[in-house]
Amino acid sequence: MYQLIKQIIKTGIKTDAAPLPDEALRVTTQRLHEEILHVFGSALNIRHVDAGSCNGCELEIHSLSNAYYNIEGLGIKFVASPRHADMLLVTGPVSRHMVTALRRTFDATPEPKLVVAIGECACNGGIFCSNDGSPDGGGESYASCGRVANVIPVDVVVGGCPPTPTAILQGILTAVSAQKQ
């Protein structure tokens, strides 16, 4: 016990300052009233759904919980069920085998809810899909439905392969901030 407490004291506080929201990440206009955003902004519950990712984005979502990003210190928590969630954080191109599960998870999340698509694949299908054919780069293949927006409505997208924890945090904070004109 002595060693453990000594280590905690020696480690000190590592947390960095949180990033500011970035309007460029928003893909639809803010649907939620400011009063709700105020509540979300100080106590947000997130359910993560891997809809077919390579596990790269998951690594960075895990990093959000480390002492440097300290996401719980901002009042943001990852929860075990969509029924407890205010926001879905969706990664990966949506594989055809995950379409039903993703839709059901979305339906199980109570309104008002927000969806943030994390990573290049979730934004446009990424490297797993050929983007040559479709007019807006939705990225589909025999096994993949491409970007998350092809399956459920998306509020904010965060590109990158994988996006850094700071970028993911910025996406989350953008989704719960009031839209600037």
């Binding site: 060693q3 453990l4 280590q7 905690i8 480690t11 590592k14 993560h48 759904v49 891997d50 809809a51 077919g52 990712s53 390579c54 596990n55 790269g56 984005c57 998951e58 690594l59 960075e60 979502i61 895990h62 990093s63 919980s65 480390n66 002492a67 440097y68 990852f78 075990a80 069920s81 969509p82 990966g92 191109p93 594989s95 055809r96 085998h97 995950m98 039903t100 599960a101 998870t105 490297i127 797993f128 899909c129 050929s130 293949s141 025999y142 096994a143 993949s144 392969c161 994988p162 850094t164």
Partner: protein, 516 residues
């Protein structure tokens, strides 16, 4: 020759590891597999290819490993009835690979015990096969439900717990079907394929360079191992050796990947037994490794740092000093944390005896990699077939025989310290200057090459077949999770449901790597 059999004519492949290839007839498949099995060898991978454009039928390919090296055998099959003798009766681990090969290519094992689908759910219908060259995606799509026939356990008081595909934590999707009495687990059956995104088909429309990026995204936590195995396979076909500096840097990247993942897992294993202190501490260290990667090599996980022909990232002299300092910090801190873990009674109580796989069972199941070494399976590609620069590094293999969660933790600690030692050694030998890569634009026609690299989880294999123009005709990436997922179904037997997350984490297997 690595195997003696009258009908077997092997050719040695050029490249970094001892590897051979050869064609055999279907009738010789089982005797040769038996021969390798009885000599202590293992099955590494099994895949198929559509060779009809070259005027042939299909082929089954298997990669075996014994003490001599990697043996890749091809079994040409007629286009009309592409069946081959069952391999799973000799190597049980072949079961899911054979079923996946049928789902994707339509070649099948005679006499196999289990003919259920594996990677296919409902996205394409049963009579169509995505890896056939004439596959028409538009005609094959369905919206059928999965309806997978799980094995039912009957008896008084037995009930099922269905978990997934969307899990409670931030992890990849898969389905676990537990049959339990009270809290005790009687049976676990896994159902995967949820993240199947057509990776193997995607390779076929890519250039060699694009393929390297895709290989690095088969399983994001093992990007270095995959990119290296892919590059090794390509370099084997082209019969070229990358510059020395590139090889040293590759080994540095691979050990850094191992360090980062082991740190992360050790943190989560503490967290899973309610010691959140462990998570906090280890993830501070992991974050420092990732930040150094980002600052020195331009990517926190080193994606796209290895390319066919060499590497795409370099290390400066000041960067070297940063990494030496990182080594000192990690060695000091991990030693303190290891002491705390070892003396924490509550933590050890949960670790010891949980999720045990006896060495005998591990050998039967072909358990490999880190989990295998925790059950006395002494296989480590870096030690047995040390490609440059490992041939100069004298890697010490970590093995343990208890096969429980505690053993997998001990192996992680031992490997972590060994990787730090290797990192110091590599930094010390990395001289300034020198080329980073040689040009490797295109591969020779109708070539075959294989690369095998000991990733942090276990051996990663990538096999490349080229067509008549030297383009990628077929690329098969193989994850060690194929070997180790079935073992998890055994490891949990007799344990209680609340220990499943801990046991699962102690293996930490890839879904995306096996779903492809």
């Amino acid at each position: 020759m690595p195997i003696n059999h009258p009908n077997l004519h092997l050719t040695q492949l050029a490249g970094a590891i001892p590897a051979w290839s050869g064609n055999i007839k279907p009738d010789d498949l089982q005797p040769i597999c038996r021969n390798v099995h009885d000599g202590g060898g293992r099955l590494v991978a099994l895949w198929g290819s559509d060779d009809r454009e070259q005027g042939n039928g299909y082929s089954l390919h298997i990669a075996l490993v014994n003490e001599a090296g990697l043996i890749c055998l091809s079994v040409p099959l007629p286009a009309g009835q592409p069946g081959y003798p069952d391999v799973s009766s000799i190597f049980p681990v072949a079961n899911r690979m054979q079923r996946a090969t049928y789902d994707l290519l339509g070649i099948y094992a005679h006499e196999g015990q289990d003919h259920r689908k594996w990677l296919r759910h409902g996205a394409w219908h049963g009579g169509s096969f995505p890896l056939r060259k004439d596959f028409d995606a538009a005609q094959s799509l369905t919206d059928d439900a999965d309806n997978y026939p799980f094995v039912q356990v009957e008896g008084q008081g037995v009930h099922e717990i269905a978990v997934g595909p969307v899990h409670a934590g931030t992890i990849e999707p898969g389905h676990f079907r537990f049959s339990v009495v009270g809290e005790k687990m009687l049976r676990l059956e896994e159902r995967f394929g949820y993240t199947h995104k057509g990776i193997e088909k995607r390779f076929e429309s890519m250039s060699l360079q694009q393929g390297a990026k895709l290989a690095g995204r088969v399983s994001g936590d093992s990007t270095v191992a995959y990119a290296w195995a892919y590059a090794m396979a390509a370099e084997s076909i082209a019969a070229v050796t990358p510059p020395e500096r590139a090889l040293w840097l590759r080994a540095l990247f691979l050990e850094r990947e191992r360090i980062a993942n082991h740190l992360g897992d050790l943190g989560y294993l503490g967290n899973d037994v309610a010691l959140s202190f462990g998570f906090t501490q280890f993830w501070i260290l992991k974050e420092q490794v990732l930040r150094n990667n980002g600052a020195l090599f331009g990517h926190r996980y080193l994606m796209d740092s290895i390319i066919p022909g060499g590497v795409a990232a370099d290390l400066t002299e000041p960067g070297k000093r940063t990494l030496f300092e990182e080594c000192s910090l990690l060695e000091r801190e991990v030693r303190v944390l290891r002491g705390i873990y070892e003396e924490h009674a509550g933590l050890q109580d949960r670790f010891i005896g949980a999720g045990r796989i006896e060495p005998r069972l591990a050998a039967q199941l072909g358990l490999c990699g880190l989990a295998g070494r925790a059950s006395s399976q002494a296989w480590d590609t870096r030690v047995q077939f040390p490609c440059a620069p490992y041939d100069q590094l004298d890697v010490q293999m970590a093995t343990y025989r208890n096969g429980d969660v505690a053993a997998r933790v001990i192996v992680r600690f031992d490997e972590l310290f060994e990787s730090l030692r290797l990192q110091r050694e590599i930094l010390g030998r990395l001289m300034p200057g020198g080329e980073l890569s040689l040009p490797l634009e295109k591969l020779p026609a109708l070539g075959f090459g294989a690369g095998m690299v000991e990733g942090w989880r276990g051996e990663v294999l990538v096999a490349i077949h080229t067509d008549t123009d030297g383009n990628l005709a077929r690329v098969h990436p193989h994850d060690p999770s194929w070997q180790n997922w079935p073992a998890l179904e055994h490891a949990i037997l007799g344990n209680i449901v609340p220990d499943f997350p801990l046991i699962n984490k102690s293996f930490n297997l890839s879904y995306s790597g096996q779903d492809l």
